[in-house]
């Protein structure tokens, strides 16, 4: 099974993935033209701030079975067998939002898309860049991510890294001194400063 794994500790909130996503789903696929397109292509991946200015790139997980597919009354959501992606047949979508209610990750947004001629908003969620995958390319968000926060590949392979990290953590008490996942000292220092900044003022948690 191939897919995108998120390594949140590596996300620095640059939102480059958002721009690449919007570009990929625009009509022209040209950065300088897309901003004048109607409807405007908008990102399907969302980088938002959690606590202490830390960010997380939130993206459709392409579940199987997918709760959104199960509740869709018009079968507008379909599974692409080749890539395992959950995709929307925009013209079948009736904007009832049942899928958004069922989605555990809150990643479904209703937008106008150029594929629908009538002026209405439909489920415009991540399509896993299926077309790119069929050409042997990685999703646009993954390509844009320069910090390795978004990785595409054989999921079990990607998880293997996390598993190894976890093993090291669990055995730390037995003498292992390696901190994992390894974050450079300067980045740790910077995040420490941000954490302090968040402790007073506008971003203080209620």
């Amino acid at each position: 099974m191939k897919g995108v794994l998120v390594r949140p500790e590596r996300c620095i909130g640059c939102r480059h993935c958002e721009v690449a996503c919007a570009l990929e789903h625009s009509q022209s696929k040209d950065l300088f033209i897309m901003l004048r397109e109607i409807p405007l292509s908008e990102p399907r991946i969302h980088v938002e701030v959690g606590i202490n200015f830390l960010t997380f790139p939130n993206r459709c997980r392409h579940c199987d079975p997918a709760p959104c597919m199960q509740v869709c009354p018009t079968n507008a959501l379909e599974r692409d067998e080749a890539t395992g992606s959950v995709v929307v047949n925009y013209n079948k979508c009736i904007s009832c939002t049942a899928c958004a209610i069922a989605c555990p990750f809150g990643v479904i947004q209703f937008k106008e898309v150029y594929q629908v001629k009538l002026k209405r908003e439909v489920n415009a969620k991540c399509d896993n860049c299926m077309d790119r995958q069929l050409e042997g390319r990685v999703p646009a968000c993954v390509e844009a991510c320069k910090t390795g926060a978004l990785e595409f590949g054989e999921i079990n392979e990607l998880i293997r890294v996390s598993r190894k990290d976890f093993t090291v953590r669990m055995t730390k008490s037995q003498g292992a001194e390696v901190e994992v996942p390894k974050i450079p000292e300067n980045i740790k220092a910077f995040r420490g400063v941000l954490e302090k900044l968040a402790s007073e003022g506008l971003f203080k948690e209620d």
Binding site: G13, I187, V193, G201, L202, D206
Partner: protein, 631 residues
């Protein structure tokens, strides 16, 4: 945030420390008026590459960025620049912009001094003859048998020459102690001219010029010195000559200085050549009677940001607030006109004003703002233009909607006007009493707490908490700019605030009748802190880098603050920053600025947002320097 009054109140408490600010923030929230805090929230998340300083958008090979986590991602820009180089170039860029802002402001004042000397200006005159002559002597200008105007002309031309490249020397650097000057010469950071260092900075950050981060950052120090001991110092001295060297004065501060029954005019920006004329014109009998005719009881000129500090220092005019107060002042609904020149004016200020009757008047050809009324301010017609602007404000008074006006009840008293000369005078003509107090340990040292507001920190919390902590620990505080406004609002700029000081500092303040926190002026007036430090060092016979003096910018935001921070450090004064500069993408640059610089200028930068911990760092640094002095 919910749209109810309770949520607004809670949000306001998060945004600002001061109650009067909170009151108007609540009003702005309930009226749906956008402010910097809202915009900061909408900007989240802010790009990590930018924050770490590892984004380079300088040439068309890019934009490029460096993977801060691993070597699997890009570790060099297209040109080959590493994280170290990109961070250093970005920092030099920011610093040069800040130095340019101060120095271009300075140049304008010197030009007005020249025009005044030549009799070409309207409303300006030579006010401080003593300072003029003292500075003339420094430049080797003969003062005997010459009129003030003749001397001023030569002084102004001598200063203007220092912006260029022929002379290759800045006169006022000679005010620094010999030991400090030797240090600058040794490391090749003695500034040669104002414009030259800034232009060279722009050259050095072009692709394929400097590739060594250390070499680039040494030039950054030199550029900052050309600001502190050049452009900014010329701004301060020329302003003193034209408008008078400040002496201790009293005034009031916070948004409560606005009046229900008067024409409220906010002067906002930096250069006193504008605000001084506005103040002068506001005393015009014809305009006063026009104000009465329009139903007002007078004309109330209040200051915002540094131009406010300039007027406060010399005339004791009230201060409405600092950077983050500019939108709040308008949101009181009581401002007839906001008159702006340049620097720190939110580009959206006219949108804010459009929610009320407030008219924004822009006056500088360098700083036009869409939606503002443009009244170009020229030295030869300055007073006429100032009168025209005030007339416009008066005629706007009937448009004020009393139902939408809310002014906080109570302003706070404050003292200001502590120029270096005034402090020396208060001490009885020499620094001996202060030096004795420091040697005996009654006063451990001094801290220059300066800089802006930044919505990333609860407004004024950083300044006020740090300063209270410092005076409690017997550290005398010197302030300028927004930092001074913050402490003014908190009542710390009053002699009574000495009660909050430690048992060493308190009696010294009481004996001299001064506050434990001294307001020394606007941001270009940080040059006064340099002069103060230089004079104390010379009196003891050491370098500035040996003094138990530290700087802090708890809430800084501006490129100018980077230049100020750097000229403090380059002059030997360590600086603690409350907001992280964009350097965290490079371990080598961090190490250089926070550690290795100690071996060069005996001072470093530190980053610490927690004001109590920042006070700890300051105290440790002061103790380190005391120990080295053997006291």
């Amino acid at each position: 945030m919910n749209n109810d009054l309770f949520s607004f109140k809670k949000e306001a408490e998060k945004r600002a420390l001061d109650k009067t600010d909170q009151e108007i923030i609540e009003k702005a929230l309930s009226e749906g008026v956008e402010t910097a805090w809202d915009r900061l929230e909408k900007q989240q998340p802010q790009c990590g590459f930018g924050q770490l300083g590892i984004c380079c958008n300088r040439c068309a090979l890019g934009p490029c960025r460096i993977d801060p986590f691993s070597e699997e991602g890009p570790i060099r820009g297209v040109c080959g620049a590493t994280a170290d180089l990109i961070v250093a170039r970005n920092l030099l860029d920011d610093l040069a912009v800040g130095a340019a802002a101060h120095s271009d402001h300075g140049r304008e004042v010197v030009e007005v001094l020249l025009d005044t000397a030549e009799g070409k200006t309207q409303g300006y005159k030579i006010t401080d003859e003593e300072k003029l002559k003292a500075i003339a002597k420094e430049y080797g200008i003969e003062v005997k048998k010459k009129t003030n105007e003749e001397i001023a002309k030569e002084v102004a031309l001598a200063m203007l020459e220092e912006f260029g490249t022929i002379k290759n020397r800045l006169q006022f650097t000679e005010r620094a102690p010999e030991k400090t000057r030797e240090m600058w010469k040794k490391y090749g950071i003695m500034p040669r001219s104002v414009d030259r260092e800034i232009v060279e900075a722009a050259h050095r950050i072009h692709m394929g010029v400097g590739a060594d981060h250390l070499n680039i950052l040494l030039h950054a120090l030199r550029t900052s010195l050309s600001d502190g001991w050049g452009g900014s110092m010329m701004a301060t001295f020329s302003s003193d000559i034209l408008f008078g060297t400040p002496t201790p004065t009293s005034s009031v501060v916070n948004l409560g200085v606005l009046a229900y029954d008067k024409i409220n005019i906010v002067v906002h920006g930096h250069n006193p050549i504008l605000s001084e004329m506005i103040l002068k014109a506001s005393e015009d009998p014809e305009l006063l009677s026009l104000a009465t005719k329009n139903g007002a009881k007078g004309i109330n000129i209040v200051g915002m940001c540094c131009t406010g500090a300039e007027l406060l220092m010399r005339h004791g005019i009230p201060i409405a607030g600092s950077l983050l107060d500019q939108e709040l002042a308008i949101a009181t609904g009581a401002v007839e006109a906001m008159i702006i020149d340049y620097q720190c004016i939110f580009p959206s200020i006219t949108s804010t004003a459009s929610c009320y009757h407030t008219k924004v008047v822009s006056t500088s050809e360098k700083a036009m703002v869409p939606g503002a009324i443009y009244k170009p301010f020229k030295p030869e017609t300055a007073l006429d233009t100032a009168k025209e602007i005030i007339k416009l404000a008066i005629e706007n008074f009937p448009n004020r909607n009393p139902n939408r006006v809310k002014i906080p009840d109570k302003s706070v008293k404050m003292m200001a006007g502590f120029s270096e000369e005034a402090i020396r005078k208060a001490l009885g003509g020499s620094y001996k009493p202060l030096i004795d107090a420091i040697v005996s340990g009654k006063i451990k040292g001094a801290a220059g707490v300066v800089g802006c507001n930044n919505p990333k920190i609860k407004m004024d919390y950083g300044h006020v908490t740090l300063v209270k902590e410092l005076i409690k620990r017997d550290i005398l505080v010197l302030e300028t700019g927004c930092a001074a406004v913050a402490c003014g609002k908190a009542g710390l700029l009053l002699p009574e605030a000495a009660d909050l000081a430690g048992k060493g500092l308190k009696p010294v303040c009481k004996a001299l009748g001064i506050p434990p926190v001294l307001h020394m002026g606007s941001c270009v007036d940080n040059s006064r802190i340099l002069i103060l430090a230089a004079n104390i060092a010379k009196e003891i016979g050491v370098g500035i880098e040996d003094l138990p003096v530290v700087g802090a910018a708890p809430e800084w935001y501006s490129q100018k603050a980077i230049s100020i921070g750097a000229y403090f450090v380059a002059s030997g004064i360590s600086v603690v920053l409350g907001i992280p500069p964009k350097i965290f993408g490079s371990t080598n640059v961090i190490d250089l600025l926070t550690n290795k610089l100690r071996g060069v200028v005996n001072a470093t930068f530190a980053v610490e947002p927690d004001p109590i911990k920042a006070a700890d760092i300051i105290e440790v640094e002061i103790q380190r320097k005391r120990k080295a002095l053997g006291i």
